[in-house]
């Protein structure tokens, strides 16, 4: 879908900006090993907002069924990297 392909670092940076805006997560906290719900305190509706913002920013589609499998920031980064092809 997107012609842009971001580096892993760019995706982490983009996600941390989104997490800060949507869920008030401190960007320093948003590292790849952190889990969205347990460590970053992102609730299920905020997670949807994060996903919607990530879809727009990175030009990918992340269906609801796949959102369930994204436990950590690193999971989301890998998913986006793969979806960008």
């Amino acid at each position: 879908m997107s012609t842009v392909k971001n580096t892993r670092e760019e995706i982490v940076e983009g996600l941390s900006e989104i997490l800060e805006e949507v869920a008030g997560v401190d960007p320093k906290e948003a590292t790849e090993d952190k889990s969205f719900t347990e460590e970053l305190d992102v609730d299920s509706l905020s997670m949807v907002e994060v996903v919607v913002a990530a879809e727009e920013r990175f030009g990918v589609k992340i269906p609801d069924d796949d959102v369930q499998s994204l436990k950590t920031v690193g999971d989301a980064v890998s998913y986006i990297e793969k979806a960008q092809g």
Binding site: D43, S44, L45, V48, V51, D64, V67
Partner: protein, 315 residues
């Protein structure tokens, strides 16, 4: 034949019984902070004694009094509800009987949470088609009958209540004050919100509905303003279905209505499905925060999935 309709009276009814988040914390594993941060609801009203028809009648009576008309002037009653337990008679006939409206067209509409805007549109169409002259349109729900009070993921969300509007045809040369409806549905998402006979409790795919709401509805609401010929900057208030505060804020953020009051009655009423739009509208008008003639954008959405909205002028 008239060219359109206008709202001439609003009214609402909520049961006296207040159920706070602290009350719920005694029933299921939850707490006030959790509920407020997730869905923005502080309290809701629960009908202990009132039936759906009781609440609908009370709201309709107030709207009729506010309109300055009498039962004899009304020839159409349309009720939006998805929580009437009796299949026959419908709530519209029960309300008409109690208000002494003798031979109106009387029917119920079920499009779940988007019900009021659908009902308002069908009443507007009936009057424009010369099938009626003045109508009472009611949104009413008693969701407490369909709430699983042991399920903490849903029982914190819903409430009971009713709201009503009286509409009538405009005179020759007057501008219609109920705008054209924008309505539709997403049938392939039928299972996203359910009250099924086999499991008569409200069940929903919260994240799926949330994503649909915050990504697709703002442009549809803007289309309703466009169809009414009202600039978004002139919209005085946005009364969306009061599902939860985060959906309302999510839609409002993408609405581009910089001067609109965003109705947030969900905080003190919970999600009352088809009752939420007329309830929030009537309370907003009563508060004096919107004035007669102000353009207000109504937008309902929910089970079906369905949506409907239109611009009305505040009576």
């Amino acid at each position: 034949m008239t060219t359109g309709t206008r709202v001439i009276g609003l009214g609402h009814y909520q049961p006296d019984k207040v159920l706070t988040n602290d009350d719920l914390a005694k029933m299921v594993d939850t707490n006030d902070e959790w509920i407020q941060s997730r869905v923005g609801i502080r309290e809701r009203r629960i009908a202990e004694k009132e039936s759906v028809a009781d609440m609908a009648t009370a709201a309709a009576e107030r709207a009729l009094a506010a309109s300055g008309r009498t039962a004899a002037d009304i020839d159409l009653v349309v009720v939006a509800t998805c929580s009437a337990i009796d299949r026959v008679p419908n709530i519209a006939c029960r309300v008409a009987d109690r208000l002494g409206i003798e031979a109106p067209g009387a029917y119920d509409v079920n499009t779940a949470c988007s019900g009021f805007s659908h009902a308002l549109a069908t009443a507007d169409h009936a009057i424009r088609a010369d099938a009626a002259t003045s109508a009472i349109v009611i949104g009413v729900e008693k969701l407490s009958d369909f709430t699983d009070w042991t399920d903490r993921s849903t029982c914190v969300l819903f409430g009971d209540g009713a709201g009503a509007a009286v509409i009538t045809g405009v005179a020759d040369g007057e501008t219609p004050e109920v705008g054209p409806v924008v309505w539709g549905s997403v049938p392939k998402m039928s299972d996203a919100v359910r009250i099924e006979a086999s499991h008569p409790y409200i069940a929903q795919e919260g994240q799926t509905v949330f994503r649909w709401a915050i990504t697709t509805l703002a442009p549809l609401a803007r289309k309703a303003a466009e169809r009414a010929g009202v600039d978004m900057a002139d919209i005085t208030a946005f009364v969306a279905h009061q599902a939860n505060l985060r959906i309302i804020e999510g839609i409002a953020k993408k609405l581009d209505a910089p001067n609109a009051i965003i109705a947030s009655d969900v905080v003190e009423s919970g999600n009352t499905s088809a009752a939420s739009v007329p309830l929030a509208l009537s309370k907003l008008a009563e508060s004096g925060r919107i004035a007669s003639g102000d353009p207000v954008l109504l937008f309902g959405f929910g089970g079906g999935l369905t949506y409907a909205g239109q611009v009305i002028r505040c009576p």
